[in-house]
């Protein structure tokens, strides 16, 4: 009886595994201004100050997308900047995934989809770009890990081969493959298995492989469509760290249903509701003191 006053070992282990809280204070207090770093989120904030100065890569102006007659995205305007992570949040069916897919013109694969408004990449209208070129510059990772049925190395090399002249031998591409795997934080785990089938990897590893594959083509913008929703917390954490690190090299846009995740990784947050952009602002502002009532309600969990 008396021996049970202490917490049982499992609880203690979780506490030990958590990150030291000390890390949180300087990061949160570091100039992001008001009402931040109060540690109401369990994870230590991984987000730092935006990489300075953020550089505008894509500009969405008055974007409207309809499927058949049904409007999914209604005149949305947003900037996408390199050096920061933009999170699109909102209840299911609010058009955030449609918006994301329109950035590399994947919506065109849906026969009923129609679009108006302008999306530009580095000042060029995406409609004027050749679609395969555009998709190499604006690469995408999906909700479900989807490695191709080939080896790990071939998966990463898949996009590389599509580019430059034909016939690049496997050994020529090896350095680029390894570099992409390293940037995706997967290389150490698969260094000896590069020729093994990618579909034998675990879910979290598969998703990082998909990120490596997307990075290998050297994109300027990386689109992530709920990349962690099929993963366990540990893989999620690894990928979140990766996202925060990647924003220095590419502009990152992430769609997520997980508000805590959006808060952890995003610099700017766009809240969408029924196809409309309700609120756009810094993550701390949108989560800390949202202007719109609908944003406040959504974040408080009263709908969606």
């Amino acid at each position: 009886m008396g021996s049970l006053t202490e917490p049982p070992p499992p609880v203690r282990r979780i506490v030990l595994d958590a990150e030291p809280r000390v890390v949180e204070a300087p990061v949160g207090g570091n100039g992001n201004g008001n009402g931040n770093g109060n540690g109401h989120l369990r994870h230590a904030a991984r987000r730092r100050d935006p990489v300075s100065p953020p550089r505008e890569r894509m500009q969405i102006e008055g974007l409207t997308i309809a499927y058949g007659g049904k409007v999914a995205v209604n005149s949305v305007s947003l900037p996408v900047r390199q050096g920061e992570v933009l999170a699109l949040i909102g209840p299911s069916g609010c058009g955030k995934t449609t918006l994301l897919r329109s950035l590399n013109r994947l919506t065109e694969l849906t026969p009923t989809a129609s679009r108006s408004g302008r999306i530009s990449l580095d000042g060029e209208d995406v409609d004027t770009l050749e679609v395969t070129q555009l998709r190499r510059r604006v690469s995408m990772v999906f909700q479900q890990p989807n490695p191709f049925p080939m080896s790990i190395a071939d998966n990463v090399a898949y996009g590389l081969r599509e580019g430059g002249g034909r016939r690049r031998s496997k050994s020529d591409m090896r350095p680029a493959v390894i570099d992409a795997l390293q940037r995706a934080g997967l290389y150490d785990e698969v260094a000896d298995d590069l020729d093994h089938p990618a579909l034998r990897l675990s879910g979290g590893q598969q998703q990082r492989l998909c990120i490596a594959r997307a990075l290998a083509v050297g994109p300027e913008v990386l689109l992530l469509d709920e990349p962690c929703s099929a993963l366990d917390p540990r893989s999620t954490e690894t990928i979140e760290r990766l996202i925060v690190k990647l924003r220095e090299e590419v502009a990152v846009v992430i769609v997520t249903h997980n508000l805590q995740q959006a808060f952890r990784v995003a610099d700017h947050v766009a809240f969408m509701y029924l196809g409309e952009l309700v609120e756009y602002g810094l993550a701390d502002q949108v989560f800390g003191s949202p202007h719109a009532k609908r944003t406040r309600d959504y974040i408080a969990g009263s709908f969606g």
């Binding site: 021996s3 191709f148 083509v217």
Partner: protein, 325 residues
Amino acid sequence: MTALRAPAPPSPPVRHGAVESTASWSRLDRVGLALCWAAGLALCAICAAILLFMLFKGLQFLRPALLFSHPLPDLDQSRTGGFLDPLIGTFVLTLIGIAFALPIGVATAVWLTEYGRPAGLARAVESGIEIVAGTPSIVLAIFGLIIFQQHVFGFLSFTAQGGSVFGRSFLTAGAMMALLALPLVVGATREALNAIPAHVREASYALGASKARTIRRVLLPGARGGIATGATLGMGRIAGDTAIVVILLGASLQMQHGDGPPGYSILSGTGSTLTTYVYNNSPAGEGNAPDKAYAAAFVLLAIVILLNFAVGSIGGSERRVAWGR
């Protein structure tokens, strides 16, 4: 740490057998269940009976010499030889048939799943495949004979001195056999392609890959298991067909060369397969040598069963490779 005492271990888990009694079932349901059991057991019994009977008869009459000697015409059964030619004929015809059916079938399946427009044409293709699948092989054989006796196709068989085309050869029979295997190849390939989720295709496009490259590098490798299954089923179907062999292969006792250079002349020549050998040597045929019919039937059954096992192992290893939806 040491102060902590684990709670007393619970009593070891005990398996509680499924408490499923039909006592509460209505009489009709109980009769139904009994019929289900009976049907399953009867099927097993029939299958076992066929296998055991063929195994018994086969092993009784099968001699290695039968597999390696040519069939010969003779009134004395001890001098009619073995069935080397029909055995080779079965393999050659099966390979020719699947060599025609596989590329066409895979291409059809790819078009149907990845393009399939205009929708009217896709529906026409689908019903075309269904009609081919439902056509009795003897009808295909007669049709093939008419087609391949045209002068244009003379190079596929041999042309007699009067200029009339024989129309019967491994190539012409293989072409019609391909129609038997085609629906199986198309069906299995389509199923495998449809099992690849849309986001896998989109992931390829999102890396700047064209549709052609997506099909070639992602979808076809992903559908490998299905394609192999279809091919194996198709080969089993070809190996087991009799009507086309009788009408379009000539069902000659030995392989006869046709027109063309050596090698090709085998393909343009006639021959027989194990199925027609069994038929001809059965009491119904002119050979009337049931011993040899049993031996050949046993070999044929073994080939087809091996093919089915191959399907099982391919399907089994591929089913584990799957993407989330």
